[in-house]
């Protein structure tokens, strides 16, 4: 029979538990826990946690989490796996594999100067960044959804990339790229199959099918211009974008775009409210 535990102070537990509530220093080893709520310093090794919430410092080693929410600093040793993992604070991971990985802001709004520090290696079907973040760690994400400032000194690569806020990166290379013209977008190169840069975002069927933690409603961007050097994709649909070069199969240049040169292979549409210096069919 599963036991429930209320642990205060320094405790070590091992076994099969229903609910564990703890404050202080808790060490969990080779355990299966249905529900864990802990504040303080928590160490979990070789265990399975169905639903965990930890505030303080968490050290997890070779453990599985159905759902984990951690506030504070987290260290992952070995390989840990999770279905949904959400972190508010610094995290260092040898390897964390999740279905949905969430970078949480807690309650206050963040920016790149006070962003969460992530380091190590992370694999996820979907990575949601709801707090300012610099992508300077090793990652393999199928989908990236960013609703706060995102920065990368390298090329950002994934299958589906949604940026609904500030973005600065050397390059983005994804099958599908959606950039909401928000506070500031500065990217040297945007490449993929579908590239959309729009002034408003409405979750479409494709977006709704992506596994995720947050709920997303339609939102409008701010009146700013995305600054991009080169866009290369099969299907391009852009608004309010300043670019030197746009190359695509089917290209749609919308309102308030200023483009030096457009190269298209199949079709082109240019808004009357756009300025395009040169159009070439290749």
């Amino acid at each position: 029979m599963r036991r429930n535990i209320l642990a205060l102070g320094e405790r070590s537990i091992q076994g099969d538990y229903g609910m564990v509530t703890a404050a202080g220093e808790l060490a969990i080893e080779e355990s299966t826990i249905k529900r864990l709520s802990a504040a303080g310093s928590v160490t979990i090794s070789h265990s399975q946690i169905k639903k965990g919430k930890v505030a303080g410092s968490l050290l997890a080693e070779a453990s599985d989490f159905q759902e984990l929410k951690a506030f504070g600093s987290t260290e992952i040793h070995g390989i840990c796996k999770g279905n949904l993992c959400s972190f508010a604070g610094a995290i260092a991971a040898e390897l964390l594999e999740c279905k949905v990985l969430h970078n949480s802001s807690g309650s206050k709004r963040s920016n790149l100067s006070n962003s969460n520090e992530w380091s190590g290696a992370f694999h996820a079907v979907t990575f949601e960044s709801a707090s300012a973040l610099t992508l300077n760690f090793e990652y393999r994400f199928q989908n990236i959804i960013s609703t706060e400032a995102l920065h990368s000194d390298h090329e950002i690569e994934c299958e589906n990339f949604y940026s609904l806020s500030q973005l600065s990166a050397v390059a983005v290379n994804a099958e599908y790229i959606f950039l909401l013209n928000g506070e500031s977008i500065r990217v040297d190169q945007v490449t993929g199959s579908h590239v959309k840069i729009k002034n408003s975002f409405r979750p479409d069927k494709k977006f709704k099918q992506i596994p995720k933690y947050g709920s997303y409603k339609g939102r409008n961007g701010k009146k700013s211009i995305a600054l991009i050097h080169t866009i290369e994709a099969d299907h391009i649909e852009i608004e309010s974008t300043r670019a030197q070069l746009v190359c695509g199969e089917q290209v749609n240049i919308g309102d308030l775009c200023i483009i030096d040169r457009v190269e298209y292979r199949e079709s082109i549409q240019i808004s009357e409210k756009a300025v395009v210096n040169e159009v070439v069919k290749v």
Partner: protein, 231 residues
Amino acid sequence: MFITKKDLLNETGISYGQLYRWKREGLIPEEWFIKQPSFTGQETVFPRKQILSRIKAIQELKDKYSLEELAKILSPEVAERYFTTEDLKVIEEIKDNLIPAFVQGFQKSNFLFIEVLIMIALSEFMEHSDMSRGQLIEIVEGLKGYLPKMKSTGFILLLFDRQKDYYATIYEEQAQIYIDSRLNIVKEIHLADLSNKLKLKYRNSFNFRFDDEDEKVSKEFNTEGFEVNPA
């Protein structure tokens, strides 16, 4: 030597989406996307021979393998295994009667993957030239010290002769090389191409890195020989 992105797409019929998908999947090495100044600010060019050959390979194989499998097959990383003289006998492209010469040249009987590629290249060359067994051993002796340092297959083996005396050099694919014009280049062999074909053809025979996957492929690629590019 280089091909622009526009020309590449026109020549191969692939789209931007495919090109960048294959880059993401690791099928096309990032270092082949070479940025150079142009009137639009910057343009991307590729090493012509390598990229055309790679895209042809991807187009031929993409329906038979997943992109992930293909990435492993086309990976420039050197396969981490040693080959015994018994293993060499399985590789048809290395003539059985030359194996003792390779053993003598390398002065060992367990070989690195990169050394096997050199053996294949030299075996093929010997078939179509008058290079003697003694010259083969001399070339192997001349190269053997450098091969263990090569951690990828992104190299080109160049064979040249001077009055029927054969020499070899190995250089990185992206490197410029200037050979004394008195020497006659007789073969240029891209080791990455040999590696791809070897991995494909013998994936069931040897424990290459991708061999832990299901063994659904048999000898469908066995019909093609290991041709080397004429200089």
